[in-house]
C-alpha cells in the first residue's frame, strides 16, 4: 500500500490557469507538508499543517493555498499560474510535528507554459 500518494504525477498547463494537486496519506499521521523543489533541486517548505494549525512559509505567494478536508488529505490549490511555478511539488507527512521522520509522496511535476 502506498503511504503518501499524490495526483496527478504530471501536470502541464498554461499561464493564468488554476490547478490543484491532491495528497493523501494512509499512515494515520497528524502532520502534513507541502514542499517545492525547483530546477536546481532546492527543496523548500511551503506549508505545514498540524491538527488544523497551518504554518505558511512567508515567501509563498498567496496564489497558493492548502486545503485539508480531513486529517488524511492536504490538497494544494494554485491560482493564476506563472512560469516560475514550474517545479516538482512534494507532499509529506509525519506522526509528530517536526521531531519525526517525514514520509514523502512521489511528487507532482508541474510545467507551466
Amino acid at each position: 500500500d502506498t503511504a503518501v500518494s499524490q495526483t496527478p504525477k504530471y501536470l502541464v498547463t498554461q499561464m493564468g490557469n488554476d490547478k490543484s494537486i491532491k495528497c493523501e496519506q494512509n499512515l494515520g499521521h497528524d502532520t502534513m507538508y507541502w514542499y517545492k523543489q525547483d530546477s536546481k533541486k532546492f527543496l523548500k517548505i511551503m506549508f505545514s499543517y498540524n491538527n488544523k494549525e497551518l504554518i505558511i512559509n512567508e515567501t509563498v505567494p498567496n496564489r497558493f493555498s492548502p486545503k485539508s478536508p480531513d486529517k488524511a488529505h492536504l490538497n494544494l490549490h494554485i491560482n493564476s499560474l506563472e512560469l516560475g511555478d514550474s517545479a516538482v511539488y512534494f507532499c509529506a507527512s509525519s506522526q509528530v510535528w517536526l521531531w519525526d521522520e517525514q514520509f514523502f509522496g512521489p511528487g507532482t511535476r508541474l510545467t507551466v507554459l
Partner: protein, 110 residues
C-alpha cells in the same frame, strides 16, 4: 537561514568512505538527513536532536556538534545504492519547519 552543506558533490568508488557536512550560523535544535535518488522522492535517513538523541537507520551514522553548530553524515564502505543527493534540514527555531541545505550529490562508481 539555510544550512550550508559541503562538499557540493563527491565521487566515490565502491567500498570507499565519505563524510557530508552540514553547518548553520544559528543554534541547532535538530538536524534531519534525507537522501533523494534521481527522479524519486526524498527518503528519511536520520534525525539528530540536542542532547544526543538519534533516530534513524542502523547502517547510517552521523554526529551532531551543538557547539560548532554542525552535523556530519558518515557513509562507510559505500555501495552503488548510496548514490543520490543528500540533504540536511534544520528548523530555524525550536518550532519552525525545516529549512533544507542545497544538497550534496554523491556518486558511487564500480
Amino acid at each position: 537561514q539555510q544550512p550550508v552543506q559541503s562538499p557540493q558533490a563527491v565521487i566515490l568508488r565502491e567500498g570507499e568512505d565519505a563524510v557530508i557536512n552540514c553547518s548553520s550560523s544559528k543554534a541547532l535544535y535538530s538536524v534531519h538527513w534525507y537522501r533523494q535518488k534521481h527522479g524519486e522522492a526524498p527518503v528519511f535517513l536520520m534525525i539528530l536532536l540536542k542532547g544526543g538523541e538519534q533516530k534513524g537507520h542502523d547502517k547510517i551514522s552521523a554526529s551532531f556538534n551543538e557547539k560548532k553548530q554542525q552535523s556530519s553524515l558518515y557513509l562507510t564502505a559505500s555501495q552503488l545504492s548510496y548514490s543520490g543527493t543528500y540533504f540536511c534540514g534544520t528548523p530555524n527555531s525550536g518550532n519552525t519547519p525545516l529549512v533544507f541545505g542545497k544538497g550534496t550529490r554523491l556518486s558511487v562508481i564500480a
